[in-house]
């Protein structure tokens, strides 16, 4: 465990949290998240009439789409083929990487430009392609910065939000071969020029998709910079890697999502660029790719689809829950240790990457509900975190023997009024008398973990039921 938690996954969560909390630069970067993105999201929804009902509609569309997902996938496949595209089915990450590398090899491609895609992060596409000898350049400005820095994205929509402008200047200066100033527009202009060269010479563009529309075979890409439009217009091959949960049935469903997605993400009414891409270019067109490939990814989604946490597949990756979350706003994205950070990441990462390997994440929440309130499709994130916590307790080796025994005793005493009476009588006569004050500042032995960060309420000296027998009833009668 080192400060490299910004580069690697699967580190010790609590240690990473402490590092993040002590990182002055990171705390500075995080400090205005709630008042900027978080606030803009609220204002944007306030000024949209019936926004709450619109969110309910988006939620209903997702729920209905998933209830017929098998049919929609077949429709999507047929629609893409009708327009000359190729459809590939990838069962998991390695499968998807292999398919994409195969497409590139077959086309004789070597240089790849990529637009920001969390799905491609999830399958670790860049290292897989680089290992096969392909040159991969991230073209979203934030993604480009962190690719140069060798880091991981720390936010769903603002991947470099953990960095200050000075950090970015330091990261990009060696690329520029000169010392770049701590000046956002100058740095952005450097990236624009550098990436233009990449666009001008790339053989293939790889994107994700925000939505895939079954009836038309279109994929929908939402962005503010224009790098996705460039990635899908200049290279001769376009490959989109898309999770199966992104499918919506009809074109008419799309405006519902477009109206909520940007509002939730950045407070815009709609993002600067929304591209609906349907197949490759036609013969008479002068720009656009000659070949279009759609790689549909399962990677654990079908398992989630058939289970109680199915609702997590509604997520449209807007990042609103991250901006609203008191935990995320304190520790940033890297400490979560997975590809997906924040409240929804605490759900998605254990589901996609395994619960045992991410055992701290379901607990990385105060269950305050701010995430659910901010979510444009109203995902019940707190409830899902509680379900994951419950599942965790069935994982072997998760509970110590002592803790396990304590829970069993507690469960038994809660099951019968008589046992509960005895237990509380014992507690008030023993612990209640030893700690006459109401809060215990330090618990002994293995229980100290609790009181390290907060006090523990001491048992009362008198049981409620005794008080009720003697005095409560009299007050009640008055």
């Amino acid at each position: 465990m080192t400060a490299d938690y910004s580069r690697h996954e699967h580190h010790e969560f609590l240690q990473a949290t402490e590092l993040a909390m002590a990182d002055v630069s990171l705390q500075g970067a995080l400090s205005n998240l709630g008042t900027t993105l978080g606030q803009r999201n609220r204002v944007a929804f306030e000024i949209l009439p019936e926004s709450d009902l619109l969110r309910a509609k988006a939620r209903a569309i997702k729920d209905a789409a998933l209830a017929e997902l098998d049919t929609h996938l077949l429709t999507l496949e047929a629609s893409v083929k009708r327009r000359g595209g190729e459809v590939h089915f990838a069962a998991d990450g390695p499968d998807a990487c292999q398919i994409i590398a195969g497409i590139l090899r077959q086309a004789g491609a070597r240089r790849v430009v990529k637009s920001k895609s969390m799905t491609s992060e999830e399958i670790h596409l860049n290292p897989a392609l680089e290992a096969e000898g392909f040159e991969v350049v991230e073209t979203d400005f934030g993604e480009y910065i962190i690719q140069v820095a060798g880091q991981r994205p720390s936010h769903l929509v603002a991947p470099a939000m953990h960095l200050r402008v000075g950090d970015v200047a330091k990261i990009l200066s060696p690329e520029a071969g000169e010392t770049l100033p701590d000046d956002g527009p100058v740095l952005a202009n450097f990236a624009r020029r550098r990436l233009r060269d990449a666009f001008a010479t790339a053989d293939a563009g790889i994107t994700g998709a925000n939505f895939a529309i079954a009836e038309t075979g279109s994929i929908v890409l939402v962005e503010n910079e224009g790098n996705i439009r460039l990635s899908t217009s200049l290279p001769r091959i376009h490959i989109a890697v898309v999770g199966i949960e992104k499918v919506i049935p009809k074109l008419a469903d799309l405006p519902v999502f477009l109206k909520i997605l940007a509002r939730a993400a950045t407070g815009q009414k709609i993002s600067v660029y929304t591209s609906l891409i349907t197949g490759a270019r036609s013969a008479e067109e002068l720009d656009g790719p000659e070949k279009f490939h759609l790689v549909l990814l399962d990677n654990g989604r079908s398992k989630i689809l058939g289970g109680p946490l199915r609702e997590s597949l509604f997520c449209i990756r807007c990042g609103a829950c991250l901006n609203a979350c008191p935990i995320y706003r304190n520790i940033g994205g890297h400490a979560y240790g997975g590809v997906y950070a924040g409240p929804i990441g605490a759900v998605l990462t254990p589901l996609y990457d395994g619960l045992a390997a991410n055992r701290h994440l379901p607990h990385a929440s105060s269950l305050c509900g701010a995430c659910q309130a901010a979510c444009p499709v109203k995902i019940a994130i707190p409830e899902m975190l509680i379900q994951l916590r419950e599942q965790l307790h069935h994982e072997p080796g998760e509970l110590g023997r002592l803790e396990s025994l304590a829970y069993r005793l507690w469960a038994r005493s809660m099951r019968s009024p008589r046992a509960y009476g005895i237990a509380t009588w014992l507690a008030t006569r023993t612990a209640g008398r030893i700690w006459p004050r109401r809060w215990i500042a330090k618990l002994p032995g293995g229980l100290r973990g609790w009181t390290n960060t907060r006090d523990f309420p001491a048992p009362a000296q008198k049981r409620f039921r005794d008080w009720w027998e003697n005095e409560g009833k009299k007050e009640d009668a008055q």
Binding site: L251, K259, R310
Partner: protein
Amino acid sequence: MNREQFLERVREATLAGRAYRVAPGPALPERVGYVGGGDDLVESLASEINAVGGWATVVDDAEAARQALVELFDIYQPKSAICWRHPLLDRIGLGDFLKARGVAQLDHASLSLEAPDARRAQVVDADIGVTSVSYAVAETGTLAVAARPGQERLASLLPPVHIAIVERSQIVPDLFDLFSIISQQAPNDMPTNLALITGPSKTGDIELTLITGVHGPGKWHVIILR
């Protein structure tokens, strides 16, 4: 895992997942979330365009539109322009206008003659892009541009300046209206690329602070004919 196994797994999960459908939400009015474009679509479109960092100029006729173009060309002094072929651009006499100013016109006719790589090199260096639109949306200040031969996607994307010329009949009130029009033509007639453009290219990737023109055009002008 092959296609059949993949789809079979999804099919089983889809069926099993129906047991976990979420509780039905409230009854939804027919046009929930419909905002519309106000009483004056032209004014609404212009004000939304200005609100997202663009510059809208409302003019009365083709002559005034040409005059607005003159002013913009005086500011940017472009040497080359990527242009759409479009009846509205013909009406304001774009071709003659560019010729008179000595601006090299890159359009479908001239670019078709080039090999793909040479073509890419030419358009990458263009100073300005001039297009019309397929539709414009008053609610959000959005321009919908569909790719067609003669209406290249790069014209609104590669140059640092994009000028779009819109007339009243192209404006629809709400995003819902736009998609209901396109839906009527779908599914077989979707353009290969339909871009909805709402503002100059933007990023907030450094400290959530707005920077314009990071990849697409940083200057975005819309001339609207009443």
